[in-house]
């Protein structure tokens, strides 16, 4: 304890020396203190990232379970479009609506930039090139990324409070409802979401939803007996809500696993940093002790 009281006085003096001569080695005590605080703060950060990793790991199981059900739901939903070969529809696709799905929260690796980049890429060089494009964003983070780029000047609609819990179908319905209220005219909807490839990887993927016109002009759609246009329009709205739901849930699972991996890497880096800094601290401490000893001995031998 007394050593600590002694140090501040010494530190003041050494600061003065430091200011005057640029090339002197700094007094060990000053740097020791700084190193100590640094080690402590990195330790705290490591604790935080480790707990975030635990939280993410515990939520992952639930999110993955919901994802398998939602995926089956999404596959059944797109079966109509696949069977009627809507992708080869004769209706011209001039207007495309993109719905980008991510979330509000960060510290999850490249989740948000993945969907934002995929959307931009498709608009610039992919299917959206030269077409009239509108974008709806789910989540604050991708919204910031998309509006920053020069391609998309204004978003048709944006949603926040996404990604706090496992998404429910009611969420997807509310979102689809709001989008329909806009009354946008489009020939095709492309939903951009993060597909859960494995626990350690994800990639941006697309769902394609076709409205009434495109469906009616699809090659194999004529095989279906459909009573009236209203039914096909209802199917389009329902299919949109289903696809948004599937994208939300899978994106949520991908985000949680990405956050777990990111926090695991961060914790690993933090512990490596602590090891390095502790090594440095100990060496410096020993050097300081050696210097003091040398001072004492030379002082004693001078007598």
């Amino acid at each position: 304890m007394s050593a600590m009281l002694a140090r501040p006085a010494l530190r003041v003096a050494s600061h003065g020396i430091k200011a005057r001569s640029f090339s002197t080695t700094p007094a060990p005590q000053a740097t020791l203190k700084e190193l100590e605080t640094r080690i402590r703060s990195v330790g705290n950060i490591g604790k935080i990232t480790k707990s975030m990793k635990m939280v993410a790991a515990s939520r992952l199981a639930r999110a993955q379970k919901a994802m398998t059900q939602a995926k089956a739901y999404g596959v059944a939903n797109s079966s109509v479009f696949e069977q009627s070969e809507a992708s080869k529809s004769e209706a011209k696709v001039e207007k495309i609506l993109y719905i980008t799905i991510a979330s509000d929260r960060g510290l999850c690796g490249g989740i948000h930039s993945s969907v934002a980049k995929a959307t931009k890429r498709d608009i610039d060089g992919g299917e959206g090139q030269g077409k009239s494009v509108q974008v709806v964003v789910l989540g604050e983070k991708p919204k910031q990324q998309l509006t920053r780029g020069s391609v998309i000047n204004d978003l048709a609609l944006s949603f926040n409070q996404i990604g706090r819990a496992v998404p429910t179908f009611a969420d997807a319905l509310a979102i689809a409802d709001k989008i329909e209220e806009l009354g946008l005219d489009y020939d095709k909807v492309k939903i951009v979401y993060n597909k859960f490839v494995s626990v350690i990887s994800y990639e941006a993927a697309f769902f394609e939803i076709y409205p009434l016109k495109a469906l009616q002009a699809s090659p194999s759609f004529a095989a279906y007996e459909v009573e009236g246009d209203e039914l096909a329009a209802d199917l389009g709205s329902f299919a949109l809500a289903n696809a948004i739901y599937a994208g939300l849930v899978e994106g949520h699972a991908a985000e949680i696993s990405a956050r777990r991996n990111a926090m695991e890497n961060a914790s690993k880096n933090a512990s490596e940093m602590i090891d390095k800094l502790t090594m440095q601290f100990n060496r410096m401490r020993q050097a300081a002790i050696t210097n003091e000893l040398v001072d004492i001995i030379t002082g004693a031998s001078a007598l």
Partner: protein, 162 residues
């Protein structure tokens, strides 16, 4: 005729495999996929018959049904499996049933629960409440929602009545 077909197919696949496949497609059962947002009830399973309650009317779907897209109204969905003695029933709140050209039936339902999962008292009280709101003096949106609730609960009440 069959000679020619045999000669053609022998270039690609053994004749035996070819006829085996043809036989299978002729006697295949209806493949049902009944999926909910939070649960997968049937995933490409062979069933005998599915009775659905569509907006256009109640209908039974058997194997090789004409491809159709049906919107479901709140009602009972019954599945008769090949080997089961009793059919299984669910109450469905709504959704779409699509019969595809390849003898598959996909049903996307928003909510579906077995009939014994409901409590009659809860339905009765819920129905009374919804009827009150629907006939009340709220705004159009609330009244429309209550009207939908009345429709669902009335269908549910009819369904669980023994």
């Amino acid at each position: 005729m069959s000679f020619l077909r045999a000669a053609r197919t022998s270039l690609r696949t053994p004749i035996l495999a070819r006829t085996y496949a043809e036989q299978a497609s002729a006697s295949s059962a209806l493949k049902l996929s009944l999926v909910l947002p939070h649960d997968t009830v049937y995933q490409s399973q062979d069933v005998l018959q599915v009775n659905i309650s569509a907006v256009a009317g109640d209908m039974g779907i058997l194997a090789n049904h004409v491809p159709t897209i049906e919107s479901l109204k709140p009602g009972v969905l019954e599945v008769i499996e090949a080997n089961a003695s009793e059919s299984k029933k669910w109450f469905v709140s709504g959704g779409f049933a699509n019969v595809h050209p390849n003898n598959t039936l996909t049903i996307n339902a928003v909510e579906a629960y077995p009939l014994d999962a409901f409590s009659p008292e809860a339905i009765r009280s819920g129905l009374a409440e919804a009827q009150r709101v629907a006939a009340g003096s709220g705004d159009e949106a609330t009244k429309a929602e209550a009207a939908v609730e009345v429709e669902v609960l009335e269908a549910l009440q009819a369904a669980i009545r023994p």
